[in-house]
Symmetry: C2
Subunit: 453 residues, 2 copies
Amino acid sequence: MKVFILGGGKGTRLWPLSRENFPKQFIRLFSEYSLFQETVRRALELTSQEEIFVITGKRYEWLIRSELEELGAENVNIVVEPIGRNTAPAIALGVKELLRLETPPNECILVLPSDHLIRDENAFKDAVERGKNIAKKGYIVLFGEKPAYPETGYGYIKLHKELEKGVYEVDRFEEKPDYDKAKEYVKDGLHLWNCGIFLFTLERIVKDYMEYMPEVNLNLKYEEFTRSFPDFPDISFDYAILEKTKKLAVVKMEAKWSDVGSWKAVYDNMEKNGNGNVVIGDVDAIETENSLLLSQGNNLIACVGLKDFIVVGTEDATLIMRKEESQRVRDIVKHLKEKGDERAVEHITSFTPFGSITKLENGERYRIRKLVIKKGKETPLQMHHHRTVHFIILRGTAKVRINGSERFYHENESFFIPKSIPYKIINVGRIPLEIIEVESGEYLGEDDVEILE
Amino acid sequence: MKVFILGGGKGTRLWPLSRENFPKQFIRLFSEYSLFQETVRRALELTSQEEIFVITGKRYEWLIRSELEELGAENVNIVVEPIGRNTAPAIALGVKELLRLETPPNECILVLPSDHLIRDENAFKDAVERGKNIAKKGYIVLFGEKPAYPETGYGYIKLHKELEKGVYEVDRFEEKPDYDKAKEYVKDGLHLWNCGIFLFTLERIVKDYMEYMPEVNLNLKYEEFTRSFPDFPDISFDYAILEKTKKLAVVKMEAKWSDVGSWKAVYDNMEKNGNGNVVIGDVDAIETENSLLLSQGNNLIACVGLKDFIVVGTEDATLIMRKEESQRVRDIVKHLKEKGDERAVEHITSFTPFGSITKLENGERYRIRKLVIKKGKETPLQMHHHRTVHFIILRGTAKVRINGSERFYHENESFFIPKSIPYKIINVGRIPLEIIEVESGEYLGEDDVEILE
C-alpha cells in the first residue's frame, strides 16, 4: 500500500501557535511530535518509508525534510507541488508520480491529511484494513468517525446500506449542519464525521480523474504534467471526484479522530487538571477554570479569574478569548494580514533549507539573529552591498568561504564579512552549528541578499 | 521651600509593567514622563532644582539620575539611604541633610511620594500655597483629596473644625474602610482621602522627631547619623509622627489625585475609547469592552470577547485578569518570588550606573546582551575567569582598556576579551554607545564578574 500525506494547510486557526509559514501540522501540542510527524508515524505502522509520499508546497519542503530527519524517516518521498493548489490537483500529482514509478494498477493508495489528531491508533489501523478489502473491489473508500458530540464545524456522511461489517455505501454528504441537526445526527446512528481520509486503488482513481476531471491529463509525460499543473482547477478532491464517482463506500471507525481545527477542539482533546484547565508551559493561574492556558518561549502567562477561556502566549503575541468564540481567531489573523503584520506569517524562529533563523533584535541600522546550521548543511553563497556582517560561533565548527578562500572557525571565534564580498558558511562538524549574526549597514532589506548559486 | 521626593516603593501592584527593580514610579503610562519625573516637574513649579531632595535607596539611584538627566534636572539633590527603611527614617535623613546645609529653621519642607498621579496641577499648587501659611504657624500639614467615589483601598482623614478657608484640624485617621462606610464618607463631606503628602517647617519637624522618635538622633554628626541609620525603627512617618503630634492640619484639595495603586485605578485614570477600553501599544481587540489593554515591546495582545478585563503584556510576561480582582496581582508576584522567577524582579532591560543592559538570549554556554553606555559613562574595570567575551559596536565610539593598554573602536568594529584579562569600556563619544556582548564559557554566573575598581 502507498500512502499520500497531504502536507499543505494554513496557519490561521491555531494562531499564534500556528503561522502562515508554520501551519497547524507542525505544531507540537499533543505529544513530543508534531501532527505531521504523528501522521508519518501512523503511516509507518501501515507501510514502509519508501511507500510514503508527502505532497506539499515549496514553502514547507525544508520544514518537512527536517521533521522527517528527526524521525529517522529520510526515505519518505517528498513530492513538491509546482504551485499551491487544492487537494484534487495535489492528489493527482501523487498519482502521476506513482504512474511514473510504474506502480501496479491494483496497488492501494491511502490519502491522509497531515494536521489531524487520531488518539486510538489501533482502531484506525483496523479501519484501514477493512477499507483495503473494499477498495480492492473498485470502491473509493472514505473514513467516518462516529460522532462523539454535536459538532457543527464538521462535514457529515449519511450512511446507506451496509456492504460489509462496518463498511457502508454512502447516501449523501452534509456540510456543517446547524446545532439541532448535528444533535439529531449524533443520536440517529446514521451519520458519521467525514475525516477527509481516502483509500482507493491506482486504477480506480486514474479512471475517475480521466472521467470527472479531464483537465488533469494523467497521460501527459511527467514534465509536461507538472508544467501544466498551475492550470489545473483549484478545487478540492471532494468536489472534483467524490461528489461524482459511482462506487463510494465509508468505513465506520471510533478512533478518537479530531481535525483540531480550533482552540476549543485543542482544549477538548487534551488532558485537564483538577480545575478543568489545560496548562502548558510557564503559567500561573489563580481562580481559573475550564480554560486552555498555554505559554511558549519567554512569555509567562499569569491570570486571575478566568472561566472558559483560551490564552495562548508566544514569544511575540498573546491571544486571549472566550472558548466559545474560538472561530474569531480568523478575524484577528485577517486584521494582522491587512496591516502587513509579520506576526501573522512567521514566528521569531523560521526554518530554512540549512536549519533555522531566530530574530533577536532589530535596530535602525543593525539586525541581530541567531542561525542554526544543521550537520552537513550550508548557507547559500551570498553577498550584500549595503551591510557588513559579524559572525560569532556559539557552538560547533564552521568552514567559511570568503571571497574564494576557505578557513575553519571554532566555538567562540568570530569572523567579519565586508560589503560586496561573497561568502558561505558550511557546517562541517558533527553537531548543529550555532552562530550569532550581527548585520550592520545603511540598508537591511531582504533584497540586498544576493544569492550567487 | 524645600521639597523631599520619596523615591522608594515596590514593584508589586502594577506587575508586569512594574518590577521589584523597576517600581511604579518609573512607569510611563499617563504621559511621556514617568510618575517620578512628573513629581519632579510638579516640584519644579514650586521651587528650584537645588531645593529639591530625592530620598531613595541605592538600588534606584542610577535610574533616578538617568530620569533627572532626561528632564535636564541634574541639579536636583539625591540623598541615598544607607539601607532601605520606611518613611520615618527616610524623611529624617532628608531633615538631617537640611540641618547639615544650615537651612533656616522656619524653612518649609514639602514631602511628596514619587508614584502618585495628580491630574489638576493648579489645584495642587493652590493647596500647597494654603498649606504653607498654616505650616508657618507650627502645624504639620496634610493634604486630603475630596473623595470622588467610595474607594476602600485608601486611608481617610476625618475633618474637625475649619482653621482657615479650606484648611481643617484633623479629627482622626481611618485606614481602608469597608464599602458601606466609604460610601458614607463620600456623602458626608467630612472625610478626605489621605494623599500621603506632608508639609512642615524644619524646626517643627526636628522638635517632633526629638520628642516622638528619639531613636533618630538628629543631633549626631552627619556621618554618625548615617552610620546609625540601619538601627532606626522600620516604621512609617504616619505611625511615628503624625499619630502623635499635637498640631495637625489638613488642606482640602480637588486635584484629581490618585495613588494608582492597582490596575483598576490605572484604568479609572486613563482616557477610554468608544468601547470603554483603554488601549496602549500593539493591540487587536474584538468585541471587547471596558477593559485595559496594554502591550509593551514585541508582545501583540489579541483578544476576543473580554468585558471588564485587565490585560498587560510585556516582553516576557502577560497578565490577564478581571478588573475587580486587580488586587490579586500581589499573589502572582508572591508566587513568582517563591519560585525564584526573575520576572518578578527585573524586566529584560535593566538599568545600571553606565546605562542599560538588555538580555537577548541565554544558552547553556553563552549569553547575549545588548549594552547601552551613556555619553561620558563607562563600565567598571572587570575580569572573568570562566568566560570570554566578544563585543560588536552597533553605534557610537568606544575607548576600550584591555590589560592596561587602550584603543578606540568604532561603529561596526569588534573586539575580544580573553579569560582573566581586565577590561573596561568607556563611551568617549557624543551619542549613546550601543554594543552587543556575546559571553561564552563553562560558567556564566554573576559571581564570575570580578570588579577591579
